[in-house]
Amino acid sequence: MASIGTGYDQSTSTFSPDGRIFQVEYAVKAVDTSGSTAIGVKCVDGVVLAVEKSLVSKMMVHNTHKRIFHLDEHIGMAVSGVQADARNVMNRGRGEATQYRSTYGDAIPGDVIATRLAGYMHLHTMYWWLRPFGTSVLIGSYDQDGPQLHDVDPSGLSYRHFAAAVGKAKTAAKSQLEKLPLSTLTCRQAVPELAKIMYSIHDDLKEKTFEIEISWVCEESGKKHTHIPADLLTSAVAAGKAAKEAEE
């Protein structure tokens, strides 16, 4: 952070003299310091989402700290940042999906839910009695117009991507994502690639143990958002580890 707030960093409802909203910048900072990275790619036949998560405790029950959620049958959300904030956004996303169905009798399109969640997060940057969300999310969807990948960040910005990364190691992840053949990649091919990226960006010095969670919404999964099959995850993790060792 280039400058400190000097009195203008307490509220989201006031700009600083040089035109910044410090609380929003701090929220983005909170996402990056909270320790997880989420990446996603839009492939020719669907979207794959992956999250790296450090194991908080050896005694924690396996698979109980999920970071990829369903928003609807055809929409998945991978989150990074403050988990509690992310769950609030998740709940809002599910509410939007349900509400869209009851109003229009159809599944919510990916760009609509991304826009609505962006609006929701932006709303939390506009009032002094609210705190911006300390979370960035990736939204993978498959609707009538095909697969789409969106991100939403604490400022309420949302873009559609071919590949995106949010969280701690987003910069390193993005530079690796750029090397993938995004115009021809299939979901099956993308899964081990994402695992490799996860292993290569992981900082072993900081925490040794971590898990990878991968989901997809694609033709193979019947255009439904599901976690990838266990055997596929196992082989992807093995590929990731092997790539990491080869690198070292």
Binding site: H70, L71, D72, E73, T98, R101
Partner: protein, 236 residues
């Protein structure tokens, strides 16, 4: 000056408008089978001639309806919303037919207590882990299970037949024959029934909703053909 609430009381729908008639269901060895016809009537007029009155509400549960079509559509929406909410929980489990039946009963009872019932009688059929399930609920929130069930006029026309002929060892073909016979009787006796019927079943392989079929009636009894000419009063 004074409020006069009695002039404009809140009014709810007090009778169904577009209705489907009997739904029938039976358990058989290895599954559960339900059947309805495929028309919806506005009064006695066959307003809609090709409606589906049986729907899958999960991978191993289906419901069959009787009564108000629009309320049934609402029921389907409520159950779909429930299914999606369960999908989002993502714990690998799905609701059993008994759970869905119970949930549906709570919905029906709550609406009834608001004096705004969902005007339906519903059958819930399912099959999981070798167990067939067949339940009933209605606009009052009644809840029970049985080996064979019917709604509406089918309660009077079809149930006695099924009581005579149903056995727990019935095969799928036996069940189909019994349902077709019951549907035919309903078609003869119930003015709002049609001979274009749809049969669906749930077995170990999941939900199967067959394409509608047309039942052949017997209309060549001598008295039918003669009409009232013989007795001279124009009637039968």
């Amino acid at each position: 000056m004074f409020a006069q609430p009695a002039d404009d009381p809140r009014k709810n729908t007090l009778r169904p408008m577009v209705t489907g008639t009997s739904a029938i269901g039976i358990k058989y060895k290895g599954g559960v089978m339900v059947a309805t016809d495929t028309i919806a009537c506005y009064g006695n007029w066959i307003r809609y001639k090709d409606v589906q009155r049986i729907h899958a509400v999960s991978k191993d549960t289906l419901i069959a309806m009787n009564g108000e079509m629009s309320d049934y559509q609402k029921v389907l929406q409520i159950l779909e919303q429930k299914r999606l909410a369960e999908y989002c929980v993502d714990d690998g489990s799905t609701q059993t037919s008994a759970e869905l039946h119970s949930y549906l009963t709570r919905v029906m009872y709550q609406k009834r207590c608001k004096f705004d019932p969902l005007w339906n009688m519903l059958l819930v059929g399912g099959f999981r882990n070798g167990e067939a399930y067949l339940g009933y609920t209605d606009l009052y929130g009644t809840h029970f299970e049985d080996n064979f069930l019917a709604t509406g006029l089918g309660m009077y026309m079809a149930l006695p037949l099924m009581r005579n002929q149903w056995t727990p060892e019935m095969s799928e073909a036996d069940a189909r024959a019994l349902l077709q016979m019951a549907l035919k009787i309903c078609y003869y006796r119930d003015t709002r029934a049609s001979n274009k019927v749809q049969i669906a079943r749930v077995d170990a392989s999941g939900v199967h909703i067959d394409e509608p079929i047309t039942l052949q009636g017997e209309w060549n009894h001598a008295r039918f053909v003669e009409g009232g000419a013989k007795s001279g009063d124009g009637g039968w």
